[in-house]
Symmetry: C2
């Protein structure tokens, strides 16, 4: 859930842009306010609106899907402003590569090429820059993509924050692959690729000066190989989404709204490690909303779910994959969580900002 | 001269990164220091280095040239940090679209799709954002490209500067087109598409609070149509470069160094408007180094130059096109300027920063 496809999403009637006359931190947080900014400002102006087409036939992906001479390309972009720049398990460079690789993967694409653009703050340590760029190279090699073009800008001291990195990426969608929220149907299974919250807690713990036994590292990882394995095993993937800003809750709410379906999750099936759970309690965070950088959900026909879980578990980052719920015809647009004792609560979009500058 | 292709440029022996242990404003200025940063840090780490290949067989473009099933794509990226955000003749949004469109055009490509990514500062006025995004849409329509995907991040107040915009772009290179510094040969003519310095002076005058009669507007314009017209007229374009950061001087010095040729320019043939010349004198700037956003040079066989100038002059932004010099076998890597009285001076890279945050 990094970028946003404008083209595939031609809203013709702007959503009112709430009351805010100035940008709030929460406009970048992955929750309701960010969605309002995208749907109320960016999409009405930049989207390809065809008058009379009414509402949108192809809801948003993280990547745009483009066609050139019969070849289908995925194209996506993400800017990275994570603070601090280096955190347990990764740094802004690794994040910038995997983030974009993963957005391509979530369109079913095999990532091919990345661009990398740097906004540097005057006075930023050259040695830190070198380490970050080295980390990008290693991540690109690990993900099997090449960084082929770039740009550098410098802003005055106090007008930036060390370094911001943008990556854009191009991938190729194999013939026959059709991944889209529109294909999500009642009865589909929801598969989650691993435990939740490691990235967000790794960054937040560092920022809050929290030290504890077994503190988690970021789950930051490339996801394209797992997706290609699923496709190779014949899984008809209806929808994919990585769980970055806004976490599992934002991803599922977006899909439920776009597909016009409900979702029911089994709380007991959602894995959260001991240290992440402890840190969430300490920091007052809900792991369902905490950002991940190496986790995704796959929504697919229920009869294929067991096989998909098997395939995911063969991958290091998918060891803890499992079915966490299913898609319903009831309560469209709403995600429900059932507790082990049978209670149910609604998991809504977050209005405010849970975790600023997490990616 | 916006971005930088990493892939096409496999330097195997890092250039020493001068003495700087911290980023200076001039590292983003388009002159010698920026080239050192790219060649000393980004390329050795990110470039596709094949050991034993020695020096670089394909010098840099502003775009990477990629092949997919026989289709050649150009791919490029640029971040925009211009200050102020709105200036006579344009704003950061228009600049962000035309800048990337022009980098694609300089590879001989027809621009197709752009991404747009925003780093917003907390507190930034929503109305200004709306105007900037509207301006991007208008520029995209004028240039015949679609903005198909995007991203939004928000940073805390005082950690950004209103808005930074990244655009990346994909274009298609027509069959048979081969634009590269390596094709530049002694005897080639150097054609300049118009007068120099309007963009840089428009921004700097505003920043310095300079008001004067006939103050210039930015020359900000899309260049792809002009390039396609040249190709359509059968011009065998050896090399193209738009004259952004570092101006005409930086562009020609880069090409001379990469192609291993010399260049001789006729000062009398280089047009600088009256108000730009006056402002340059007042601000202590040399128009050869001032940034443009709608000017480029085409290097091509001398016998085709007159026809190329004719074709360019049919376009509004090419009305003042002309031949300004030629490529020589002598003094490789050096650009010489001949005055009307016969004197000659060397036009070198600028070491420091002539104009910070001009794009």
């Amino acid at each position: 859930m990094g970028g946003q496809s404008f083209d595939a999403f031609g809203i013709c009637c702007p959503v009112p842009l709430s009351q805010h006359t100035a940008v709030q931190m929460a406009h970048g947080g992955g929750g309701r306010l960010m969605r309002e900014l995208i749907e109320g400002l960016f999409l009405p102006i930049l989207g390809s609106c065809e008058p009379g087409r009414g509402t949108n036939p192809t809801p948003p992906h993280d990547s745009a899907v483009l066609e050139l001479d019969g070849v289908r390309l995925a194209f996506t972009t993400d800017s990275f402003v994570v603070s601090p720049l280096v955190f347990p398990g990764g740094d802004i460079g690794k994040l910038a590569v995997y983030g974009t690789v993963n957005d391509l993967a979530m369109a079913g694409a095999k990532p091919l090429w990345l661009s990398a653009s740097f906004v540097l703050e005057e006075g930023f340590a050259m040695e830190t820059l070198r380490r970050v760029v080295q980390s990008m190279r290693e991540a690109a090699d690990a993900a099997g993509v090449r960084i082929v073009t770039g740009d550098t800008k410098v802003v005055d001291r106090g007008k930036g924050d060390g370094v911001f990195i943008n990556t854009a990426g191009i991938g190729r969608i194999p013939p026959g692959v059709d991944v889209s929220p529109l294909r999500v149907a009642p009865g589909d299974a929801i598969v989650l690729s691993g435990d939740l919250g490691r990235h967000g807690i790794a960054v937040m713990s560092l920022r809050e000066g929290l030290h504890f036994e077994g503190a988690p590292e970021s789950d930051c990882a490339p996801l394209a190989d797992m997706v290609q394995s699923l496709l190779g095993a014949g899984a008809d993937l209806h929808c994919l989404r990585d769980l970055t800003r806004g976490g599992l809750a934002a991803a599922l709410n977006e899909i439920a709204a776009d597909a016009g379906v409900g979702m029911e999750l089994e709380e007991a099936a959602i894995r959260v490690s001991e240290p992440v759970a402890a840190a969430c309690e300490l920091l007052g965070l809900d792991p369902l909303y905490v950002a991940n950088e190496g986790r995704f959900i796959a929504i697919l026909p229920a009869e294929l779910a067991a096989r998909a879980v098997e395939v995911l578990r063969l991958h290091h980052a998918g060891r803890e994959a499992g079915v966490i719920g299913h898609v319903t015809r009831e309560h469209p647009g709403t995600v429900e969580l059932r507790s082990p004792l049978g209670g149910a609560r609604i998991v809504d979009f977050l209005s405010g900002e849970q975790m600023p500058r997490i990616c």
